[in-house]
């Protein structure tokens, strides 16, 4: 088929052959194939990228999910796993292939308070799990800013982080075991629900594989006792540099805050103008939001040390939240900061580079000069304690000239972070967005080793094709380039009769 004929066939609204078979499994309302119905699935949390899927299917149970994956395997069809679609790296974009949405699998399967663990389906929303376990004095530690919408399955795929990962660690530190359906349709258990296991850490390899290794069907997570005391402190500064130096000083002091977040002046003012206004000082050039938790006695002493470090480092004012209501408000402004940016322009590009923490003052100065060079407004709101930057620029993706300046500025910022010895992503994943940078931090043989690992989980590379590792870095894949698949090919039409609907 010629390229144009291929495009014509694949963008038609005719029902793809596989749709009927998938409808038999999940029920017709849960299979979408008309372009208008699929519009909502043509993007994720990454702005400026659109990819139109050919079909979307939403299994409603574990058995349905397995049957869907097996059907796709039998037809040799590539697919993209999708949780809530909040990802910021384009990992859930499906270019003319199938989307397998997992958000209907939202049962909390079991909760074991004494052993502090829970087994959940992948579509359980992060915050819902936390609300469920909070009355029991427990919490699920990873808390991405999208916690009110993102799913645990998506968190596993991205190895998601969040502000409190500074002390508690990222998703991989909190997942004990997984049941996974491999792209072949085979179901395997990774890790152990009861104890420690020897052999290769397949659980660890799967977490953060960005949907390239298969789909999680259930996830057993570790729950953490809620700390006895939580104190949140807001320090404001008249210079970005002073706040950056204080960040380094707090880390170097050996105190491990539960969270240490940074917001610069432009971010503060956008948040304060929005419905998420948190009472941050509007005239400050930077604020640090520092949270300490643990036993009352230890927290009080650390709070005093941190307050001293802030004041010695030039903080104008240090305020400690008096109660939970004030604490929640301070955090609301931080967690909804990206949302508040919507006031500035229709699109927002967010970077996720990580730098060594001592390089923070230097890199923030570099980012400032890059923003001036390109005439763009960079807002900085990020996990300073980890050195995980989130420079973001509000812009209009529909203005080609502005888009070009924004992308040039972002590229230059990324190059500076790589040159400082950093990483291209701390928690958002590589996806589509950062694939172009993989070769600047990994050698050809390292990328090839990643391709080989992926091939073991997905020999036909049908699960989330074209993401994370650039195809041309994969030696054995070069011979057979990944292409679009026409879902109405004769092969799919000649499919076996559908199997009985799984209950």
């Amino acid at each position: 088929m010629t390229e144009s004929a291929h495009r014509a066939a694949s963008t038609s609204s005719a029902q793809p052959a596989i749709a009927e078979r998938l409808s038999e499994i999940v029920g017709p309302p849960h299979v979408l194939f008309r372009p208008s119905e699929l519009l909502v699935y043509n993007s994720d949390g990454l702005p400026g990228y659109r990819r139109q899927p050919r079909l979307a299917v939403f299994p409603g149970s574990r058995d349905e999910a397995v049957a869907v994956v097996r059907s796709l395997a039998e037809e040799g069809l590539p697919f993209v796993p999708r949780g809530a679609g909040t990802g910021l790296s384009g990992g859930a974009l499906a270019d003319d292939i199938v989307v397998v949405g997992m958000h209907r699998l939202k049962k909390i399967i079991s909760l074991d308070v004494e052993n502090r663990r829970a087994t959940v389906e992948p579509g359980v929303v992060n915050l819902r799990l936390n609300r469920h376990v909070a009355p029991l004095g427990l919490l699920y530690a990873p808390d991405p800013s999208s916690e009110s919408a993102c799913t645990i399955g998506g968190n596993v795929a991205e190895n998601a982080g969040g502000p409190h990962c500074l002390k508690y660690g990222v998703t991989s530190n909190h997942v004990l075991a997984l049941t996974v359906v491999l792209p072949s349709g085979e179901v395997v258990e990774l890790g152990s629900k009861v104890g420690e296991r020897d052999g290769y850490d397949l659980r660890g390899a799967f977490i953060g594989s960005e949907g390239c290794f298969g789909l999680a069907l259930d996830i057993t997570v570790k729950l953490t006792p809620r700390p006895q005391t939580v104190r949140t402190l807001l320090a404001d500064f008249m210079s970005v540099d002073a706040a950056a130096h204080v960040t380094s000083a707090v880390i170097a002091s050996g105190i491990v805050p539960a969270a240490l977040e940074f917001m610069d002046g432009p971010t503060i003012r956008v948040v304060e103008d929005s419905i998420y206004a948190a009472g941050y000082p509007r005239d400050a050039e930077a604020i640090l939001l520092i949270e300490l938790d643990g036993l009352e006695a230890g927290v009080s002493a650390d709070l005093e040390s941190v307050r001293r470090i802030c004041l010695d480092g030039g903080a104008r004012n240090v305020r400690v939240a008096r109660d939970d209501a004030e604490r929640t408000k301070l955090w609301q402004g931080r967690k909804k900061a990206f949302g508040a940016m919507g006031r500035l322009a229709p699109h927002l590009i967010v970077q996720d580079a990580v730098i060594p923490r001592t390089k923070l003052p230097e890199i923030l100065a570099t980012i400032h000069s890059i923003s001036e060079k390109y005439g763009v407004l960079v807002c900085n709101v990020f996990h300073a304690g980890d050195g995980n930057l989130h420079p973001n620029i509000a812009y209009s993706a529909d203005d080609p000239a502005e888009s070009e300046r924004v992308h040039k500025a972002m590229t230059e910022i990324m190059r500076a972070c790589i040159a400082a010895g950093g990483s291209i992503t701390g928690e958002h994943g590589v996806g589509l967005d950062k694939m172009g940078y993989m070769e600047s931090i990994f050698s050809e043989s390292s990328l090839n080793a990643m391709c080989e690992l992926r091939t073991v989980f997905d020999p036909e590379r049908r699960s989330n094709p074209g993401k994370v590792v650039p195809i041309h870095a994969c030696k054995e894949w070069q011979a057979v380039p990944a292409g679009r698949v026409d879902l109405s090919t004769p092969r799919a039409l000649q499919a076996e009769p559908p199997r009985p609907v799984a209950q």
Partner: protein, 376 residues
Amino acid sequence: MSTESIASAIRDAARSQTPLRVTGRSTWLDAGRPVRADQRLSMRDDTGVVAYVPGDLTLTVRAGTTLSEIETATREHGQWLPLDPYGSPDGTIGATLATASAGPLSSSFGQARDLVLGVEFVTGRGEVVRGGGKVVKNVAGFDLSRLITGSWGTLGVITEVTLRLYALPKVDRTFSISLSGGERETASLLRAVIMSPLSPFALVLLNRRAARAVGSGDDAVALIRFGGNESMVSAEAAALAQVASPREVESDVWQRLRGFDDGAATVVRISSLPRQFPGVSARILADDDPETRMCIDPRRGLLRLAVGETSDVDANACDDRPADISGSVETIFEKLRPDVWKDVAPSAISDPLSQGIKRAYDPHNILNPGILGDLS
């Protein structure tokens, strides 16, 4: 020694299909399944700090660097790598990570793989691969660091690692509680400690035999280590005194505990759900098996057994889990008599995914062949 010279040695071995026994300083060669190898590839001369910026709390070292060298280098800056595996402090960091070894601190600071930020390793084809990086948070690419940690040198030879460090606590105190009071008293004490908001750095229980071996007296004991700022540790010590009669001891007991299984012919780790550990531990300690050294980490849900000074151990002795642990358990064998492995635990990599990864990374099966089991 450089990565390139190691890669070159491995390429030579791959060409001639020569199996290699990969070692650090050879302090723990009797662990793991027997290896069929003609040549030894030792990392002991590949030592030294590559990069250390104390303000970043990260350290990059060559794989042959010993744990005690790391301790010395970091202590100078008031920092430490909170990883206290059993065995000699002269063991190398490369071998520690390759075997995913960890000790009592792991219930607070995480397992070996949680402290690794990045690795460089050489595959069985002699290719130099890096996973992770040098920063404390990183999701770029698939997680090769976790994959390599605990792979016992069978997927690649670790040449360099970047580690997450912590500041040394301002105060670090250890208390010993005698568990001579019998089963019921021990169980209720353990429940009180585990359910309290206390957050010790480490908490282990030793049976009489193990307590004697580490010089902690003649009774079964609980050892509890508190670290943090002055007021926190004081508060924790005071809270502990509310539920038990703790006696403060020198912190070098933890150093002695690392030699817990010295000379043992059989070492086994049994793990299960933490909930049942207070009861199970109390029963095990009350029973007092005079032949077996036992160290229990009730928060991690782990029982570690070291049996026998000689090799006349009955294979069945180590196959039997203590009858008290109910439900499913995971058993990891560290040391067994060479001839019993094939009956007790023939392979830890028998599943198709593990076999596939082994074939991809070491297609000639020349890296520590057999130590985790064979290719089918």
